[in-house]
Symmetry: C2
Subunit: 229 residues, 2 copies
Amino acid sequence: MGTGQEHTVKAFDQDIKQLRALISQMGGLAEQAIHDAMKALQRGDTALAEEVRKKDKQIDAIEGEVEKLVVRVIALRAPMADDLREVIAALKIAAVVERIGDYAKNVAKRVPLIHTAGEDRIEALSLLPAMAQMASDMVHDVLDAFASRNAEVAAEICVRDSALDDFYDSIFRTLVTFMVENPRTVSQVAHLLFVAKNIERIGDHATNVAEMVYFAATGRYLADEAATA
Amino acid sequence: MGTGQEHTVKAFDQDIKQLRALISQMGGLAEQAIHDAMKALQRGDTALAEEVRKKDKQIDAIEGEVEKLVVRVIALRAPMADDLREVIAALKIAAVVERIGDYAKNVAKRVPLIHTAGEDRIEALSLLPAMAQMASDMVHDVLDAFASRNAEVAAEICVRDSALDDFYDSIFRTLVTFMVENPRTVSQVAHLLFVAKNIERIGDHATNVAEMVYFAATGRYLADEAATA
């Protein structure tokens, strides 16, 4: 290998390292956003909810940085085969994390609509934080799996998503029952339905990333493995 | 310009043409999916709903083709600057259209949950097809704007999205009122809330594409223009 090429390889490794650092930073902000949005929801803290909405711009900005870096890496280093696929995967994963941030922002947006004056105590509210913690842990672990190219953890995320889906179905039924029994709260509880749905979608997105990580690490599709298991 | 370079340029133009054809094909399938999902919903036609779900795999497959083509174009033609941005934009737009297909599929999935045995007549149902038509037209027009690089049409899509959001808010209130007055239908109407939300999200995604098209055509961000207008 000539020195010129070696130089390019090292520069490429640096770029990949930077891409991963940016994605990890986005992931940290997304986890924090989920956590804060749920805290705001539980406490009816509209100031914290507003902060979550504002901070989402940081996540969007880092996604923009990832995109610019990806375009620069492709233009300058002309990566081939696996390297190119890794760069494209980073672009896609950044887009997914950005969407996870959007779901947290959407939960935050609904806080003032759920905590209206003269509200009834909405019991179903107590189930959502546990569900959100499950989803948030999935996001954390899948980004760890991405950083360490851990196919086993990635496969496990998909199993956890089934549990999250079951949790969602149970909360959906609980909320519907609550609405029937407390017609005065229908509007607020309808917003809670969307909160639960947002959390369920966060799990779906973590699973999408897990599938990409699994494929990158093994060259096999996780869905195919599951179908034949 | 040497003949070799000219050859590469022509080959690149062919690739871009193919990318656009694939995206246009995806767009046509997504529009059809929205249309069929709404028809299935109105008629309680679960067979048609099932067909929409199955056909979504075609959209996913074309997105996979776009991705492969993008990777190949970048690897073989090493496009620079504007050309590279165009290729990356195609990748992103394909991902958005794939999601629009997912929303239509999600509407289809809810058809059997909304049309259960012994159902009450849900009046609010009659508003949704008009809303879906608005969203579907936005998808159609924004993909036309992408193909013709028409910034003016792209800017107009964003205005139409505000009208769609207002439509959604109105339907949300109507459905909530309906639930309060008809507690027996709460579960079905909750699914209709998600249908309305899915349509509203389709409009958001058409708007995302419009913003990309506007930026590609003018080099300016539509959001900035709107803020200073």
